[in-house]
């Protein structure tokens, strides 16, 4: 009896759903098309990484199944990448740069963000305004003089050169300041009455309350660092310490020796995990992206 009622209900639901789909058919098809267009290039690259270089160069044009799918799937590109090209070294260098950038960013941004949100010192407004002003300066604009600064510091072609200049950025300070501001002042007050000093309040009251924002900061900084190309290209001249993105792009410009297979394999190895990470953690990722421009 109950089962019967359930199946009735289900067929009713199914009919409703069908009516809904028919009514919104145009929208649903458009949404699917949008998903396809935006998902396609990266998926195509991942599929192509399973083709031999020869299949990539000669099999795409004219259009056939082999333009899209590896008809003779092979792992030779990955084998070549990790045995001949030692791509794991580049991945390691990327990881080192990312670890440096993320940890410095979290520490420096939390400290400064809290001071700007909760403490007062002479000139704090002016210092904060000057900090925010640097958000308007694109990396591309200061790359030449920044290189000169790194030369004077003797840091060219060292690991710190990869992450030091951008680990501390106005975005992080701003994000953390907003988060600390949202903590009710009453919590500080209670701790203060219990005899806690301001730094103690920062460590044991404020920081635990902004964990989601710290997660956002970590994720955004990690992605920025993972994807950095221009600065490592300029400042890292030691191929053994070069990061993955630059190493991949270098595969494009080897004269008379097409590297398309290993190139797609490296692009896939670097991109697919990152894309999955950003989609799984999109709550934090989107918040960071959107708030980086919000006043």
């Amino acid at each position: 009896m109950v089962a019967l009622a359930n199946s009735d209900l289900m067929s009713l639901r199914r009919a409703e759903r069908r009516a809904y789909v028919v009514r919104h058919a145009g929208g649903i098809v458009t949404v699917a098309l949008v998903g396809f267009i935006f998902g396609f290039p990266i998926l195509w690259a991942a599929l192509s990484s399973l083709k031999s270089t020869n299949d990539i160069v000669t099999g795409t044009f004219p259009l056939s199944w082999s333009s899209f799918v590896p008809l003779r799937p092979t792992l030779e590109n990955y084998v070549y990448l990790f045995t001949q090209l030692k791509f794991q070294n580049n991945l390691m260098n990327t990881a080192i740069a990312a670890a440096g950038q993320v940890s410095i960013a979290v520490v420096a941004s939390s400290l400064a963000g809290y001071a700007f949100a909760r403490l007062r010192f002479p000139g704090s407004d002016m210092v904060f305004a000057l900090l925010l002003l640097t958000a308007f300066i694109p990396v591309e604009a200061i790359i030449v003089p920044l290189y000169q600064v790194m030369q004077q510091l003797g840091l060219v072609s060292t690991y710190p050169a990869l992450f030091l200049p951008f680990a501390c950025n106005p975005f992080g300070v701003f994000l953390m300041r907003q988060a600390f501001r949202d903590i009710p002042v009453e919590m500080d007050e209670a701790a203060r009455i219990d005899g806690a000093g301001p730094f103690r309040i920062f460590i044991s009251i404020a920081l635990p309350n902004v964990k989601p924002t710290i997660a956002t900061l970590v994720l955004i900084q990690f992605i920025w660092s993972w994807n950095a190309y221009l600065w490592p290209l300029v400042v890292m001249q030691d191929p053994n310490k070069q990061i993955a993105q630059v190493a991949i792009a270098n595969l494009k410009s080897i004269p008379n020796f097409p590297m398309d297979g290993p190139l797609f394999a490296a692009a896939t190895a670097v991109t697919i995990p990152l894309v999955i990470l950003s989609i799984c953690l999109q709550r934090y990722y989107v918040r960071g992206l959107v708030s980086s421009g919000m006043k």
Binding site: L63, F136, Y147, A167, P198, L274
Partner: protein, 304 residues
Amino acid sequence: MRAVRVIAPAGRRSGWNGDAVLASAMVLPAVVALAMFQFLPLVTAVLNSLQSFGPFDRSSTGWVGLDNYRELFADPAFRYALLNTFLYIVLMLGFTIPLALLLAVLLDRRLPGSTFARNAIIGALAASEAVTALIWNQMYEPSSGLFNAILDAVSLPTQPFLTSGGQALVSIVVMSVWKDVGLPMLIFLAGLQSIPRELPEAAELDGADARQIFWYVTLPALRPSLVVALFMMTITATRMFTPILIMTQGGPQGATTNLALFSYLQGFEFQSPGTASASVVCMLVVLALVTAAQSFLLRGREAD
């Protein structure tokens, strides 16, 4: 007294005391880093743009006033790069802002498949510029690429894409729109979700159709999001660099070179710090002018 002041941070009575010292110590790492790696290079760029440099050791040989700027503006390659910078900004804003708005409205309807589309757009946004440029470079390949294979399959003429002076810049813009449209779209989506549901419902009760609701209710409510999206996309478009370097190296014949790439080439390939710095300053002036013009235009019509 001390406790009262700290509890109410709004009541500002500044002066150097224990808290102020602690606060400045906490700010110090960020301030030192930004001063060294952002302001110092910026000041260096401005100063270098007013000096000339020796051809071999790249050391300053003295102040030359605006000579570097005069030299730049006499250089047709620079004028071309300046023009291209504006072209990138106009095309990027012209494509991304309306498209982002459409996508946001579409995804906000929460139709089946919206999550898939949203994830795909976020994926494109999270992937690196270098890798996406390399992938699209492969698809644009004139003789063996996927796009020409598709054109050929439907009996359309194949295109030169990145190898033609007329198509290269637009090809780079199309790739960048694909990659970056997610950012303004997410900003618009956040804006749409903050519009109270009663607003469009009330308009509907008053007999407004979907188009009217969009133009007279949704769009005005999105004005703050539009300001942010325009600002962020202007910076994105002005600083476009990695895709250009990877896909065309600025060619063919400078057709895709913008100020960012021009300064890079002057500084690192032609070893000319003076003109490189001068073109950097020009790029920052362009960025400042365009964003100032936008905020002027948008503020002029703001009612509140």
